[in-house]
């Protein structure tokens, strides 16, 4: 049970407030898509439009090529898993899962078989007679998942499903969600503001801001080659250096910057229209800084280490470059490096990893 989802020119206004502005998005059948963005970006509104709880001011929602405007939630091949799980507090875990099939006309035996197989899948068969209040947060989340899947939806909508869990459980549950999605093959659309969660589970990450889609694609592409400055900043920490394009020749783009001329492969220019003389931002992720010299590295002169902290997996340093002392660069170095505040280092950056926006 799976289906392709298309949003066509979706617009949503709440009075004067524009929640969604001409949103176009395709999600393939069986894909795990994650809508990612800060609060108020419209991601939950988009999900609620697909669920049928909100009807859009403009545009069409297509599921499996069929328009579902003005079809109530119950009549859509979608099921929503709510942020607060919305379990029925007066019913046992098993009765919660059986509710959907029963409402859709299944007999008692059929509904109970369905509940049995789903509760086994989420490892909660032993807790079938408990009430939701006797379960832990992670268990409630799994009951909600089983209940939503019990009606065999083509598309499962998850509204910040892991938001109420602590970090460790969240990481564990996101692996479980992904495994279950692979098992059932249903299209999952998941809303979150946690970019690590998004990258960990999504086949397709959709970055949203101010009611618009900023970028969408596989996690590595969105992270390494973001389509916009917003995406670059939202997906993770990034250092931005103002520069001007001097010219492009033989596939090499030369930029004038406070650090002198910087030569980069022309393919690192991600915005399509950049002419000589245009201002640009050079983006460098903290993990692309190196201490050792190599021919593949761009040199940005020397810098003073202002603040250095051990983060376990890496060493995080804040650098004050000599060429532009008021700029702070955040660099991650290997955990084995010995650095302390006040040290002087040469700034080296992997050439292929620099992006131009």
């Amino acid at each position: 049970m799976t289906a392709r989802v298309e949003f066509k020119n979706i617009g949503q206004r709440f009075g004067e407030f524009v929640a969604l502005d001409n949103v176009n998005l395709d999600i393939e059948a069986g894909q795990y898509a994650v809508l990612l963005g800060p609060s108020g970006c419209g991601k939950t509104t988009l999900l609620m439009i697909l669920a049928g709880f909100i009807s859009p001011t403009e545009g069409d929602v297509l599921i499996d090529g069929k328009s579902y405007n003005d079809v109530p939630p119950a009549k859509r091949p979608t099921t929503t898993m709510f942020q607060d799980y919305a379990l029925f507090p007066h019913m046992t875990v098993e009765a919660n899962v059986m509710f959907g099939p029963k409402m859709q006309g299944a007999g008692r035996k059929q509904a109970s078989e369905r509940a049995h197989s789903l509760l086994q899948m989420v490892n909660l068969w032993d807790a079938r007679d408990k009430k939701p209040h006797a379960l832990s947060g992670g268990q409630r989340q799994r009951v909600a998942l089983a209940r939503a899947l019990a009606v065999e939806p083509d598309v499962l909508l998850l509204d910040e499903p892991l938001g109420a869990l602590d970090l460790k459980l969240r990481r564990q549950m996101q692996d479980e969600l992904k495994a279950i999605q692979r098992e059932v093959g249903t299209t999952f659309i998941h809303v979150t503001h946690d970019q690590e969660e998004a990258m960990a589970i999504a086949d397709k990450v959709v970055v949203m801001n101010h009611g618009k889609i900023e970028d969408s694609g596989p996690a590595h592409r969105v992270y390494l080659q973001p389509a916009s400055l917003f995406t670059a900043g939202f997906m993770g920490e990034i250092n931005l250096i103002a520069a001007t394009l001097s010219g492009i020749s033989d596939g090499v783009a030369r930029f004038a910057s406070p650090f002198g001329n910087i030569d980069l492969p022309a393919s690192s220019i991600l915005t399509k229209t950049l002419n000589p003389g245009d201002p640009a931002q050079l983006g460098i992720r903290p993990e692309h800084f190196r201490l050792a010299d190599s021919s593949e590295a761009v040199s940005l002169g020397s810098a003073v280490v202002r603040n250095c902290a051990f983060f376990g997996a890496h060493l995080r340093a804040i650098l004050s470059p000599e060429a532009q002392p008021d700029l702070s660069l955040i660099a991650h170095y290997a955990q084995s490096q010995k650095l302390s505040d006040g040290d002087r280092v040469n700034i080296k950056v992997e050439r292929d990893a620099v992006i131009v926006l």
Partner: protein
């Protein structure tokens, strides 16, 4: 030292307050066990003979049954009506909702005398003769706003997503109400029911105005009192009091305990 005095003072105040509230009831109950013919000091008992007199008095026992019937049935109607009104106001945006809500709650502020009188006139007008049925209608009128207020207060947005989820899973509106909303609100529905039962149980004015041959217990007690005080009136008063206490205790131990337990666990 000052602290001791302060807490002594508070204890004294509490004693006075409870004395003020419960002394009349205690006196009533005490003299229901009087051996002699007048419920006045000195106390010479205890004796159960007046209770025996109450339960062998056919008029009193049938009034007691009438009262229970009216209380149980009219409260059920009041609860269903109150619940449906609360559901409507909490879940739908109605034109003029504030005004309708005020109108529904209005009987709470109008005196029972006026309501009873109004009903009496109305029943006369449409030619319905006075009976236990009309008393029951009167009690539905006074208790529906109460049930509405209690149930409406317990409906919040936190149940909204649960109802949405039920609808999303294919439940129709009436199924959501019956299988999800009502069970979720059961503690407050039962609280409203029992409170309504106690109110109906000892309501006098409306019962007096709207009944004729079959009367409820308060009306029967009133006619008993007209023939003067005797320990039998004390005994029947004690029975009324006892039943009210039992209802309140039932409420306390079933509903409120369970709610508190659940709050602690979640």
């Amino acid at each position: 030292m000052i602290l001791r005095l302060k807490s002594l003072g508070m204890a004294g105040y509490l004693l006075l307050l409870y004395g003020f509230i419960f002394l009349p009831v205690a006196t009533l109950v005490l003299f229901s066990f009087q051996e002699g013919r007048f419920p006045i000091p000195p106390f010479n008992g205890p004796s159960l003979k007046w209770y025996q007199a109450v339960f062998s008095d056919h008029k009193l026992t049938s009034a007691l049954t009438n009262s229970l019937l009216v209380a149980l049935i009219s409260s059920a109607f009041a609860c269903v009506l109150g619940f449906m009104a609360a559901y409507g106001f909490a879940r739908y945006r109605l034109p003029g909702a504030a005004a309708i809500k005020a109108t529904i709650s209005a009987p709470l502020t109008v005196s029972y005398l006026i309501i009873g009188f109004g009903l009496l006139v109305s029943f006369n007008l449409i030619g319905v003769s006075r009976s236990l049925f009309t008393v029951g209608i009167g009690h539905v009128v006074i208790n529906t706003p109460l049930c509405f207020a209690i149930i409406y207060a317990s409906m919040g947005d936190h149940q909204l997503n649960i109802e949405r989820a039920a609808r999303d899973l294919g439940a129709k509106d009436w199924q959501v109400m019956l299988r999800v909303t009502a069970p979720m609100l059961m503690p407050s529905i039962i609280a409203a029911y029992f409170l309504s039962v106690t109110f109906s149980w000892d309501e006098f004015i409306i019962a007096f105005l709207l009944s004729r041959f079959d009367v409820t217990l308060p009306v029967e007690i009133w006619s008993l009192l007209r023939s003067g005080l005797n320990p039998k009136t004390n005994a029947v008063g004690s029975v009324v009091f006892l039943i009210s206490v039992v209802i309140v205790l039932l409420l306390e131990f079933t509903i409120f305990r369970r709610g508190a337990l659940r709050d602690r666990q979640s």
